[in-house]
Subunit: 221 residues, 2 copies
């Protein structure tokens, strides 16, 4: 039952943002439970939450008695349990491409610039905010350079990353673009990424999932 | 056709190691083309390879006219195109769990300690080998602490990470354990991980995929 869905989420978390988009695309209602990643040393490290999610990361999705973590695994789960509209194409090659594009972001950009990594740069290397920003910009630029090439060179790219309807690849891309803007990464070299991001921003499923519209965003607090 | 499979691989790359295990589990023959990640500044950055893989990372799998990158996407592709033996269970909850376990390694341990990240720690923060080792040990320990809890606490854990046959979760775990040993990460706190790793090591599919047995390993060069 859709009303059983509970998302442990932080408004500005890219991984939570992904799951919110997917839930919206599927038309699934869910209850948000905010996990503040900064306050009190990070609520994700509290005993109660750590019992749900031993990685002490967001998001965690509760579906009835199932506890689901890892955002890309959750996207696949939602696609299997609620197949319409699909987040993956029907053919194996297309599915591989969508997962590949998703993982460029989900494996090779986002985790390297995650909050806990930036915190570690501070504690191990005395990195200040400017050095953290340089780190972030380097990895976003590295990943987007590849992603732009992969998108611009393929006939499979349509209005969206793959074809003319949103897939998991768009669900992963849009939060990373939001994050890139937050860190003031220059985006002029990525016209295909920007075109797709702008199109997604015209869809309610994406817009309603944006950080600023979440119940735990500071403007709503 | 299996004989069309070509794997661009580096003997010590964890992500290449994953794909080698999966190919072996599926009984698929493939040709290895070595990409030396260190020699000459890294052969993955050469024009020819970068045209195949814009991320300039290994592995890349060629299946006929298909060019596949991102190791976890490749595992899913192999499972869809060669379903037996399966790398994922049949039920949605089980599939979610296997992907979740895989992504703990594939998203939140491995990419943060990848060669290019260590190189960046050197260039941006003057990290020496000892500081890089401390960084590696921190992220492996953080990830394995969570993974051990997830494995030890679940009735779904069997002889392997999920049930009594190898899945994608084992395929991702074993190369990370190899990598942890290489970086001398203390592993005594992870008895379930060690038990599963030892079992995998008794299977030819895993053993034949180990770095030391690859044609580009130094002992074979």
């Amino acid at each position: 039952m859709a009303s059983d869905l509970v998302l442990y989420s932080y408004w500005r978390s890219s991984a939570s943002f992904r799951v919110r988009i997917a839930l919206n695309l599927k038309g699934l209602r869910y209850e948000t439970r905010a996990v503040h990643l900064v306050r009190d040393g990070g609520e994700q490290h509290g005993t109660g939450y750590a019992a749900l999610n031993p990685q002490e990361l967001v998001p965690t999705l509760i579906d009835g008695n199932r506890v689901l973590t890892q955002s890309m695994a959750i996207l696949e789960y939602l696609d299997e349990t609620h197949p319409q509209p699909p987040l993956l194409p029907a053919d194996a090659a297309g599915r591989a491409r969508v997962r590949e594009l998703s993982q460029v972001t989900g494996c090779d950009i986002h985790p390297i610039g995650n909050l806990r990594v930036l915190q570690r740069l501070g504690s191990q290397f005395d990195a200040d905010d400017e050095q953290k920003a340089i780190w972030m910009r380097h990895w976003v630029a590295t990943g987007f350079h590849a992603l732009e090439a992969m998108l611009a060179s393929s006939k499979d790219t349509g209005h969206f990353c793959h074809g003319d309807t949103p897939t998991m690849a768009d669900v992963c891309l849009v939060p990373q673009v939001y994050n890139a803007r937050r860190w003031k990464v220059p985006l002029g070299d990525y016209p295909t990424i920007l075109r797709i991001d702008a199109l997604c921003d015209s869809h309610d499923a994406f817009r309603d999932a944006t950080p600023d519209r979440q119940p735990d965003a500071p403007s709503h607090a």
